[in-house]
Amino acid sequence: MPGRVQSVERAAAILQILAVEQEPVSLAHLAGALDLAKTTVHGLVQTLRDVGFVDQDAESGCYSVGADLLHLGAAPLDRNELRARAINWTDALAGHTHEAALVARYEAGEALVVHHVFRPDASVQSLQTGSARPLHATALGKAILAHDPRAARTINDGALESHTYRTVVDPPRLHRELADVRDTGWAASVEEWRPGLASIAAPVRDRSGYVVAAVGIEGPVDSICDPRQRPRAALAEHVVDAARAVSRELGHGRRG
């Protein structure tokens, strides 16, 4: 029988401890529970964080079981399945807001558009399905960033690209904004990706509450925002309603 790898055993023990704790656990608590040096545990738990098996709270520095780990056994939602489930509610969203409606999900460091409903007017438009949006500069991207630890990790390393003079490229400022997104339930971007373009988006959750996509609207700043360039609350409400409806379609908040 080959010898056991000690660090794997220890990593498993860390996950077992985190799994039974209700609240996020501090490094000192972990080290005490395992009777190991803090430096040893720190190296292990940081690696677990980097691969997404452990989440670290930005403020307290405490650790908890990563959302990725909870989803390890579950089959990921198919991109085309997501569109099929979202199609009726994105039609209604475009109808209510008179703007283009989109669904995007995290793929390879970007928000990939998986569904697009034209703005309901006579203008010539082309399908955006299959195109990508930068995570930090669009509402769809931010709604995902704020909730998906895999996506969030991609902005931890490397500089944030500036798309317009309004793109948020300062990581602390972006993190504050993402905290706001988690509080309000929706994200916005005003000319942060393309001049003249604004967007509002909200997270879509699956049965377990995991954020699997974002749904939102995209359009001219003048129609998405009020004269003071703030996203219109009524539009945000429609976006949040649509996100809730699609989430319900995916089994979120359903009884049984």
Binding site: N80, A84, I87, N88, D91, A92, G95, F118, P120, L127
Partner: protein, 500 residues
């Protein structure tokens, strides 16, 4: 707020849905449940009508609850349904006396001549607009009555009622008070005269159908009654067959307007106005809609039995995918069909070929072929079959189409929509409500009760949600079309060879 929404019950082949719509035609709520598909023998397809009524009893209250509304908020209820599916029930007990025979069921194939007492098919076509095929309810009904002497006797005594799903649902919704249908459904029985829009006594005699068991034919648009079950007080104000409903939901109100629905099958309909247009290319002539005090509107129809059903077969019988939407994911693992073609002639080939003996084939297999290629060939088959009926309709209408309006669940499949644009070489346009069947029933119900003042308002609700344009050249298109046509000939030839 009083009467704030219009409701539609969409009783389809695989599922039943209840949807609520607001003034702008936006979906407010939807509740949906699938029902069982019963395959007792090859070629037979049955539904349990009681199960379906049970679902409607659940779904109507659920759709209202989801929207936070009550029955008093519904201005009008439209019923739309899978057509031709045949239900027979006991007038007193309200219980079905046999499984519902579904439109796809081919048990009458090969006996159609006898089931119509050898009436000249050309004369049948002239009176009813229908080529002789296993679809219509009339021969299905006769088959049921012929199969059981007791049923026949009870039918002759007036104890049994016949109806398509619309009739069955309205009868139950009204607590057994109303036994009615509309011309869009009645035109699919092989028993109704297209011109008079009444049951034809000679056809009833030829098909041995007692007149007493037939529902009264009422206009599609018009107040019928108020519901008793499962919630009281909802005005039922429209009844339309599903494909006619989707034509209406696409706001295709004028002659020349057409739409193509991708559901279980593919259904192409073109509004021909008050004229009964006869097809020279194997299409069906049918009623598009009727309204009290207005001349009926007719349509040409080209329907393909197997489209979504082919994808569903890939899921259930081949386990290629876990959900219908995943067929696109699988198909996108390859760039083309790799020379593989699928002709899904599961129940023969109908419009525009009318080869009931044809059987399904997969051709062009090599060691190179993967399940991705087959998935791609499946989607391409759906597109090519649509092209075949569209070409037939263009031949009948005498003018090429400038674009194709599409709807139905399969329009969520972007690869299918792109392939369709590629093979047709015209823009494919999805309107903002892909659920145009339910929307059409809601539109009709809302018009009947004055929720919407006129059709012009409904036209203004129509918006383009997506558009696909061809991305291939004429050489590639022609070559692929030639191969598809060759595959269709093989499927037909196989059918002939099989029967000797």
């Amino acid at each position: 707020m009083s009467r704030s929404v219009v409701a539609a019950i969409d009783q389809g082949t695989t599922s039943t849905r209840c949807l609520l719509f607001d003034h702008a035609g936006r979906m407010v709520s939807v509740a949906q449940r699938q029902h069982r598909q019963i395959y007792p023998r090859p070629g037979w397809v049955e539904h349990d009508a009681e199960e379906i009524w049970g679902l409607v009893r659940e779904l109507l209250p659920q759709a209202l609850e989801d929207a936070g509304l009550g029955p008093e908020d519904i201005a009008g209820l439209g019923i739309t349904n899978q057509r031709e599916t045949t239900v027979v029930w006991d007038r007193d007990s309200g219980r079905p006396v046999a499984p519902a025979v579904v439109w796809q069921d081919t048990r009458t194939a090969g006996q159609l001549d006898a089931l119509t007492d050898h009436l000249d098919p050309a004369e049948l076509l002239r009176r009813t607009g229908l080529p002789l095929s296993p679809y219509p309810s009339g021969p299905k009904l006769r088959w049921l009555l012929d199969s059981d002497a007791d049923l026949r006797a009870r039918a002759e005594r007036g104890e049994l009622l016949f109806g398509t799903m619309d009739t069955w649902l309205v009868w139950n919704l009204t607590g057994g008070r109303l036994h009615v249908t509309d011309p869009t459904n009645a035109s699919r029985t092989l028993l109704m005269d297209l011109e008079t829009m009444q049951w034809d006594p000679e056809l009833l005699a030829a098909l041995h159908v007692p007149a007493a068991m037939l529902p009264e034919i009422r206009p599609s648009i018009g107040e019928l009654a108020t519901t008793v079950e499962p919630l009281a007080g909802i005005p039922i104000s429209a009844v339309l067959g599903d494909q006619q409903a989707s034509l209406f939901g696409q706001a295709a109100f004028d002659p020349g307007d057409a739409k193509c629905t991708f559901g279980t099958g593919t259904f192409l309909l073109m509004n021909t106005g008050p004229d009964i247009v006869r097809s020279g290319s194997g299409l069906i002539t049918t009623v598009a809609v009727s309204e009290e005090g207005a001349p009926p509107v007719y349509a040409l129809e080209g329907s393909v039995a197997v489209a979504g059903a082919l994808v569903e077969w890939c899921r259930t019988s081949l386990s290629l995918v876990r959900s219908p939407a995943e067929i696109e994911t699988l198909a996108r693992t390859v760039d083309d069909c790799g020379g593989c073609y699928v002709v899904p002639a599961f129940a023969g080939l109908f419009a525009p070929h009318w080869e009931p003996s044809a059987q399904g084939i997969v051709v062009g297999l090599t060691g190179y072929t993967t399940k991705g290629h087959i998935a791609r060939a499946v989607l391409e088959a759906c597109a090519w079959q649509a092209k075949d009926v569209i070409d037939a309709m263009v031949a009948d209408a005498g003018v090429p189409i400038a674009s194709l309006a599409v709807d139905g669940g399969m329009t969520a499949n972007n690869l299918l929509m792109q392939t369709l644009a590629d093979v047709l070489d015209v823009p494919v346009i999805r309107p903002m409500m892909a659920e145009s069947v339910a929307l059409g029933a809601a539109y009709a119900a809302g018009l009947a009760v004055g929720y919407w003042p006129d059709r012009q308002v409904l036209r203004a609700n129509w918006h383009r949600a997506a558009e696909w344009r061809s991305q291939i050249g004429p050489v590639e298109r022609e070559r692929a079309h030639a191969l598809w046509s060759a595959a269709v000939r093989l499927a037909i030839g196989w059918g002939h060879a099989r029967l000797g």
